[in-house]
């Protein structure tokens, strides 16, 4: 049976023409702050033990750089042990990956000149999460500078001097792991919108960027609730989903969300090019009206701020009149009251389906359903998400898995993987395989018929 995969067929990872050279910048150093309230070592450790994820970043020489409980200095010995483990295995011509015990997993990642480590009760895809964390650091410093800084300043250099002020971005990247499924970090989650409105927004953004003729302005993105409302690009340049998530993490930083303000900040997108920097023009044009949407325009030129500021004005004020008013009304509703895929819209029999995650492998876009009765309480939703998290980990670990149907007393789980997509569903415990597949079939048809609402099918270029 040929299945039509909802979510488009545009690849998000082509990189055949992305040999653009990017500029370096001199990063300012800041003195390390001393912790305002000195806590005892025990208190720091206790606080650390309570976190669902304990993430550590250190230099190859064991110098602490980041721990998500803060107070790195007080955990020096722990950092040293992590460093010794990694370097000892390296001496044997091998690479340390994981240490597990009864209920914890410790994952290591060595990317010269850094060592990253995460300790978690949830062992799923920790390797990928460490890659994401590393790329988050690279987005601030670039890989080239990261490698050269220790050469220039010595092995014992305190990298926190360069990361100061951006550690909350590392923090938010780590804390977002708890809230979302890990596959989201390598995928694009799209804000559900009327297809016509999305088209209007994309056409406006690409039109204004194209008209500005700014040589080096490559991407425009509209973000809301860590989801993409619209995405436009110059010619065939593409932004990798992991780079997109770095941008999303940056603009989700509360300190930037100031009405009528524009931010101009360098950012390295490691999958595009990890040796240099983009400049991100960031604005929250409707913050004052209570609409938490963010416009990001990315250029490789440092002096494009004024040009991109003009582009923003044009995007906001283009087509003054009824068309814009209608769009704005619809858009503000889509952002203020986000409308996730409701399972009831696939028709009868759908009551047995409680939740799902759909992922299109080519366009790297995901669609996550809204929560539905009986997944009401926080705990119920957490349990169902844990099941989906396990399912997701199994799919990536066992690449040959095509179908999994599990029935137990709490619920049933269906995983369906093809070359084009993967679908993970939580059903009620009494569903039969036949009913589950009938519902899934309806679900795919429904997603296909509404795909422009839940996915970006075509990325306009300028």
């Amino acid at each position: 049976m040929e299945i039509e995969a909802p979510g488009g067929s545009e690849s998000f990872t082509e990189d055949d023409i992305q040999n653009l050279s990017l500029q370096q910048i001199d990063l300012p150093e800041q003195d390390a702050e001393t912790a305002s309230i000195m806590e005892s070592d025990e208190t720091v450790l206790d606080r650390l033990a309570c976190l669902p994820y304990q993430a550590f970043v250190l230099s190859e020489y064991g110098r602490p750089i980041f721990v998500n409980s803060g107070n790195e200095e007080q955990l020096c010995s722990l950092f040293a042990v992590i460093g010794i483990f990694v370097s000892r295995v390296k001496l044997w011509g091998d690479e340390l990956m994981t240490i597990t015990s009864k209920d914890r997993q410790i994952q290591f990642l060595h990317r010269t000149p850094l060592i990253l480590c995460i300790v978690s009760k949830y062992g799923e895809k920790l390797d990928e999460q460490l890659e994401v964390l590393f790329e988050q650091i690279v987005s601030t410093l670039s890989r080239a500078q990261l490698e050269s800084v220790y050469r220039k300043k010595g092995d014992n250099y305190d990298l926190r001097r360069l990361l100061r002020g951006t550690d909350r971005l590392i923090e938010s990247s780590v804390s977002s792991w708890r809230g979302t499924l890990s596959s989201i970090h390598s995928a694009i989650s799209v804000l559900p919108m009327n297809p016509g409105d999305r088209e209007f927004l994309s056409a406006t953004m690409s039109g204004c960027l194209g008209a500005a003729k700014l040589d080096g302005a490559l991407f425009g993105v509209m973000v809301a609730h860590r989801q993409i409302a619209s995405y436009v690009r110059f010619k065939n340049y593409v932004m990798h989903p992991r780079d997109m998530n770095i941008v999303i993490n940056l603009v989700s930083d509360k300190s930037l969300q100031v009405a009528e303000a524009q931010t101009w900040t360098p950012i390295c997108l490691p999958h595009f090019n990890d040796t240099g920097f983009f400049y991100a023009y960031i604005a929250y044009p409707w913050e004052a009206k209570g609409i938490p949407a963010c416009l990001v325009l990315l250029s490789v030129k440092r002096d494009h701020f004024d040009g991109l500021n003009e582009v923003k004005k044009r995007i906001l004020f283009k087509k003054i009149g009824s068309e814009r008013e209608i769009f704005f009304g619809n858009f503000s509703t889509a952002v203020v009251k986000p409308n996730l895929f409701a399972i009831s819209q696939i028709g009868s029999n759908s009551e047995s389906l409680w939740s799902f995650v759909y992922r299109n492998h080519l366009s790297k876009q995901v669609c996550i359903s809204a929560s539905k009765i009986p997944l009401i309480s926080r705990e119920e939703r957490w349990d169902s998400r844990s099941d989906l998290r396990k399912a997701d980990a199994l799919v990536s670990k066992e690449g040959h898995l095509r179908t999994l149907f599990v029935r137990n007393t709490k619920n049933s789980l269906l995983i369906w993987v093809t070359d084009k997509f993967s679908l993970q569903c939580v059903f009620g415990p009494f569903v039969s395989a036949i009913v589950a597949f009938t519902v899934v079939d309806k679900l795919l048809k429904s997603l296909k018929s509404h795909e422009q609402r839940y996915f970006i099918i075509h990325t306009p270029s300028f």
Partner: protein, 448 residues
């Protein structure tokens, strides 16, 4: 020359059963195995003294010290993770298991090479490796070799090392793992159902059963083959394996160790393993407990009945009414945790090493499952079928069109591995096929 009475004697057997396709020798995928006593190497410069046993011997002492030091250092992670009765470590090239034994005074470590496992088609699955390579020798220690640690307690380190050497250099080459790792992980015992080499009855603790059974069938009984093959020997004569019964320590109901003497008596292909409890009085000597007279009485009592029983078993196996079911076109594993009984299509006559002549007669005509399907069985069972729940079912399909079916009913577990077939395209097809299989092959022991 070791005495027959010494249990280590049975590790010296040159009659090693051929390894059937469903198993492989752990030595073929092993990088190293060691026993260390960290307290012995605390002084700077004396770190190597913690090493009590290390295999392979050819590894340089410095490297041995480094490797064991790494295992010891794992305890420094207690700040972020308190518990440490075991840890597994994965590197790019190998998988390691470290467990602490004897009140955390000793560390046992094993490392298996990912490359060698890949070439041997062995799906490395650490929980199963842990069970086979660490838990089993540890429990064997508890059964037979508390004397080993006894010599350590008596400060005779050299003797202690000798005994470890004697035990492990013979135990490790015989230690086999299943290519379907859950068979090791579940730790069941094959009851008499199809072949010899299976259990008929037991009354010892469930804790001790699997390892004792493994010792009997894989280490001790293979030595019976040579004398039994001698034509001059009176075939239906019973005989004792332990002329001087040896000490074992078995778990009582509260999991405390109690000291017993073990007597193994064999007639034809039936073996009875008996345990005589040591009295509490310390002055009693072995001879007073199991005397020659007692053995003679046992011999007189058991010989006729046991040889009759063994003949009946032999007749049923050799006769036309072969107890062996017709070869199935699928693979299966059935496990009942209440009785520890396990049966699977991966067993074979020779796998128990009782008759060196049969290579590997499996009970399935289905092709052996691919390595990733074997791993999928482990991943789905451990990840999606809750240990604490009595019911559950799971169907998984691989891209090679193999299906894995796991059914748990009243805690009993049935795993089916169905090879590709044009009759089982959809999940519904596989569900109805499963129903047919349960009805035709597992009706008596498994309720749908």
């Amino acid at each position: 020359m070791l005495s027959v009475a010494n249990p280590l004697y049975f590790f010296t057997s040159s009659v090693e059963a051929p390894t059937p396709l469903s198993r492989l020798r752990i030595a073929d995928v092993m990088d190293f195995f060691f026993v260390v006593h960290p307290d012995s190497g605390r002084k700077e410069g004396d770190e190597h003294k913690r090493i009590m046993y290390f295999n392979p011997k050819v590894e340089a002492l410095d490297k041995q010290t480094e490797i064991t030091g790494f295992a010891e250092a794992l305890q420094f992670l207690r700040e972020i993770e308190e518990e440490f009765d075991f840890r597994t470590v994965s590197t790019q090239k190998s998988d390691h298991v470290y467990i602490q034994v004897e009140k955390q005074k000793f560390i046992l470590g094993i490392s298996l090479s990912k490359q060698m496992a890949f070439h041997s088609n062995y799906p490395l699955y650490l929980p199963a490796v842990k069970k086979t390579s660490s838990v089993i020798p540890t429990r064997l220690f508890r059964l037979f070799f508390s004397a080993i640690f006894g010599s350590f307690r008596e400060n005779d380190e050299e003797k202690f090392k000798e005994r470890l050497e004697l035990f492990f250099s013979r135990f490790l080459p015989l230690l086999k793992v299943q290519r379907l790792p859950i068979l090791d992980q579940l730790g069941g015992v094959e009851f008499f159902y199809h072949f010899p080499g299976k259990l008929l009855y037991y009354s010892i603790s469930k804790q001790d059963l699997p390892v004792l059974f493994r010792y009997l069938t894989q280490n001790l009984l293979p030595t019976a083959i040579a004398p039994e093959l001698e034509p001059t020997r009176a075939a239906n004569k019973g005989r004792f394996f332990y002329r001087n019964p040896d000490d074992v320590e078995l778990d009582d109901e509260e999991e405390l160790l109690e000291r017993y003497q073990m007597i193994v008596y064999r007639c034809l292909n039936a073996t009875v393993c008996m345990f005589v409890r040591f009295p509490d009085v310390e002055t009693s000597s072995k001879e007073q407990i199991v005397s020659r007279r007692m053995l003679r009485n046992i011999d007189a009592y058991l010989e006729t009945d046991l040889s009759n029983l063994a003949s009946r078993i032999g007749d049923e196996i050799g006769g036309e009414n072969d107890l062996r079911p017709e070869a199935t076109d699928f693979h299966y594993v059935y496990f009942n945790p209440a009785s520890l009984s396990m049966t699977s299509s991966f067993s074979s006559t020779s796998s128990e090493g009782l008759d060196g002549t049969t290579a590997s007669v499996g009970v399935a005509k289905a092709p052996p499952p691919p390595v990733d399907v074997n791993r999928l069985v482990c991943e789905t069972l451990s990840g999606f079928v809750s240990e604490s729940e009595e019911f559950g079912e799971c169907f998984a399909k691989s891209e090679t069109d193999w299906w894995v079916v796991i059914k748990k009913v009243n805690s009993r577990l049935l795993v089916l591995l169905l090879p590709p077939s044009s009759y089982q395209q959809s999940l519904a097809d596989v569900q109805s096929r499963t129903q047919v299989i349960v009805k035709s092959h597992f009706k008596a022991i498994f309720f749908n």
